[in-house]
């Protein structure tokens, strides 16, 4: 489970830096000698986070805050936040009083992905790099950074290849397992993650060759910071297969194209990250819906499960338009607002009812 992995990182005495938002160029942390660990939070709330923030704040942020307040993230040598959304911005503010011993950096990521936005982002990445150098007492040379960029590009390519193979049926890998692989890859040094992903794909290929194949309705799982493989597993337990995803911690992670090796590395990272499969936080929010529709057209799922964590303004404000785009694409859709807990009886009932319609 995610929290256990965090503790494993501490046990292994591996210097780790935490990150939360998909717009964090983790290559910089890797180049600083840190293992970039994407933080996932506590599934059960003690109410501490509600008291520190508010009940109507993103449950993912509050789950991470619960972990932090409980001392479970003290193993981190640093933590990088972004202005991905208002909740994350406030998480940074609260973090500094809750975990004062773990240095924090707020990375302001532009919402405009044009040239000027990319150059502005490159300037912020220079600040991020300087913070990392000072915090982790190291020097991040261009060579180190380019090496990290290459490592993550290989990892992302492997994961994207895994997704394509799942979608085409070339490999036999349930969506729940793919989610676990993605999570692992975002908490592990890139070379290790690459090896792990390659082994998993090879095993899944062998299963497919032995006759294993996706069963039942083919589903696409979309949403925001939906990082619980149990959600996919629940649908799979009812006979469906999650063959594709459009999740922040899933295929959006691997959608960052390889940064241009012929321009300065920070600018290359800035351009690559701003052009990845977008979060609806970006100004060009229509890009989000149109990419989702294109994915549906390419994947041809029997249904889409759109799982959104509550209070996510970036997604929820767009929901009427996303819903219409999905209807226009002619695909049956189940929209679920989640609270970052691992399912409920009501959710199971809705899932079963949805699967009966397709």
């Amino acid at each position: 489970m995610p929290t256990e992995k965090n503790e494993n990182a501490a046990d292994a005495n591996s210097p780790s830096a935490g990150w939360f938002c998909g717009y964090t160029p983790i290559e910089i942390l890797d180049a600083a000698g840190m293992t970039p660990v994407r933080i996932t939070g506590e599934r059960a709330s003690s109410g501490v986070a509600d008291s520190l923030m508010h009940t109507n704040i993103c449950p993912y942020v509050k789950a991470c805050l619960e972990s932090a307040a409980g001392g479970k993230l003290n193993f981190l040598k640093g933590a990088v936040f972004t202005n991905g959304c208002d909740a994350q911005r406030r998480f940074y503010d609260i973090w500094r009083s809750v975990v004062p011993d773990v240095p924090a950096f707020l990375l302001a990521v532009p919402r405009r992905g044009d040239d000027a936005g990319a150059l502005a982002f490159a300037a912020r990445l220079a600040e991020f790099k300087a913070w990392a150098e000072a915090t982790f007492a190291t020097q991040i040379t261009d060579d180190k950074l380019r090496e990290s960029i290459r490592s993550y590009a290989k990892l992302r390519k492997a994961l994207a290849g895994m997704d394509e193979a799942r979608e085409s049926g070339e490999i036999d890998m349930p969506g729940s397992r793919a989610m676990e692989i993605y999570l692992e890859a975002q908490k592990t040094p890139p070379a290790e993650a690459l090896e792990m992903a390659q082994k998993e794909v090879a095993a899944a290929k062998a299963r497919a060759a032995a006759g294993g194949a996706p069963k039942g309705p083919r589903l696409l799982l979309a949403g925001n910071m939906t990082d619980d493989p149990e959600l996919a597993r629940m649908f799979e337990s009812y006979g469906a297969t999650v063959v594709s995803d459009a999740l922040c911690a899933g295929s959006r992670f691997s959608s960052t194209a390889p940064p241009d090796p012929d321009i300065p590395p920070l600018e290359a990272l800035a351009r690559a990250y701003l052009r990845k499969s977008p979060c609806p936080r970006m100004v060009d929010a229509d890009d989000y819906a149109s990419r989702l529709v294109r994915k549906i057209e390419a994947t041809k799922p029997d249904g889409v499960v759109f799982h959104i964590l509550k209070f996510c303004d970036a997604h929820l404000y767009d929901m009427p338009f996303i819903r219409d785009a999905l209807r226009s694409a002619g695909v049956r859709t189940l929209i679920i607002e989640g609270d970052y807990t691992s399912g409920s009886g009501q959710l199971a009932t809705r899932a079963q009812a949805f699967l009966e319609t397709i």
Partner: protein, 401 residues
């Protein structure tokens, strides 16, 4: 209020115009001039823009763009007791009820074409995600091309200022392209001059409010600066500012200063629909709101020869932009300078940037010796407002003071 707002603004300006002519009071003049801004949304001599709340209205003024920010619409609908039907409409359309009701009301109003159709939609990435998303969604609904200002976070650096100034340039070209209005640097210079003049007067006004007792009531400067921003860069802004200042000075000179036992700071926005909280606080406890968080001139004068740079710095350093430390420092400063005894945060439901900050604000003010209460009110949606509960909580707070 489910028909076009033109008639409403015409009626408002007509009746208030007569009253202002008979007796020019500050609140009356502010309402009159605000109504005139509303009229411009239907006046062909002006381009029509719906905008984010903290955008540089001086530029619009210099380009004959009649602009209102979307939260103004939500507040106005709540103030006239008509927000509920627009909120319900937006929710029926699929808008989450957990989001900000200022924005949801605006979506309902846009769907019902309450304000006609804008020519321009100009959003900004600050102060919140919801404001930017609402502008983009109205763009989808109306087919109007939007423009978004991406506001860098403090601290101010040259590259951030240059980037934002560059965006202002893009914005003026966007306005020119869509409306045919021209950006004239000389007019911008004049707009900056008038903005500086108005700001200086408002600073004087705020200085008077620091006196004990303050020569105002709790409602004298209700929603003041956030609405006043619409008038910045014009002669009307100067007129309104001067009227508020002279009226306040007259109260001081007359000796008829409203009494006060407790001085309060109101955090962020007021509750926009009709309620009795402020009157109850004044009458039962002699408590007066002497300062609203958003009534604060935090920026330096604009350089009239280079006004866009000053506007960029103003926007970057807005207290609600970026991480919380700047806002906390300003809240603490206001609490000290106005000698407040307590603070009230309505903690507007659906406002993530405020709700997520409320404990930090409370802690920061407490360190200054100023207790703060969070009310948990939706400032625009009256459907779940139970005044008795709020007053009970406030009673405990006031007795503690």
């Amino acid at each position: 209020m489910d028909t076009n707002l033109k008639a409403y603004f015409d009626g408002l300006v007509g009746s208030l115009g007569k009253k202002v002519a008979e007796q020019k009071t500050a609140r009356r003049l502010l309402a009159y001039e605000t109504g005139r801004i509303g009229q411009k949304l239907f006046d062909d001599n002006y381009a029509h823009a719906w905008t984010g709340v903290f955008v540089p209205f001086e530029i619009f003024r210099a380009m004959d763009v009649g602009a209102v920010f979307i939260e103004f619409v939500g507040a106005m609908l709540a103030g006239t007791g008509s927000s509920a039907s627009f909120l319900a409409d937006a929710e029926g359309f699929g808008y989450t009820g957990d989001g900000c009701a200022y924005h949801r009301a605006m979506i309902g109003a846009a769907r019902k074409e309450l304000l006609g159709k804008p020519q321009l939609l100009i959003g900004a990435t600050t102060p919140c995600d919801g404001g930017m998303k609402t502008i983009l969604n109205v763009a989808r609904m109306t087919g109007v091309e939007p423009f978004t200002l991406d506001i860098p976070y403090p601290p101010v650096t040259k590259d951030k200022v240059d980037w934002l100034v560059g965006q202002y340039g893009e914005m003026t070209r966007y306005i020119e392209r869509l409306t045919g209005k021209k950006y004239d640097p000389e007019r911008m210079k004049e707009s900056a001059r008038l903005s500086n003049k108005a700001s200086a007067i408002v600073k004087e006004l705020y200085e008077l409010c620091k006196l004990r007792p303050a020569p105002i009531t709790s409602d004298t400067l209700r929603n003041f600066q956030i609405v006043f921003a619409l008038l910045m860069g014009g002669e009307e802004g100067v007129d309104v500012a001067e009227t508020f200042l002279s009226e306040t000075r007259a109260i001081l000179d007359s000796g008829a200063v409203p009494p006060e036992k407790h001085r309060l700071l109101w955090v962020q926005n007021r509750i926009q629909f009709k309620n009795n909280i402020v009157t109850w606080l004044e009458e039962k406890y002699g408590a007066k709101i002497v300062v609203d968080e958003l009534n604060h001139i935090y920026w330096d004068d604009l350089d009239e020869d280079n006004p866009l740079e000053g506007l960029a710095i103003r926007q970057i350093t807005h207290p609600l932009n970026g991480p919380l430390e700047h806002r906390l420092a300003i809240l603490d400063k206001l609490a000290r300078e106005y000698s407040v005894d307590g603070a009230i945060n309505p903690s507007h439901w659906g406002c993530r940037q405020n709700c997520g900050a409320r404990q930090a604000m409370k802690d920061s003010l407490r360190a200054e010796g100023v207790p703060m209460i969070n009310l948990d009110v939706d400032c625009v949606d009256p459907r779940n407002y139970f005044e008795g509960q709020i007053l009970t909580r406030l009673q405990g707070f006031m007795e503690m003071l």
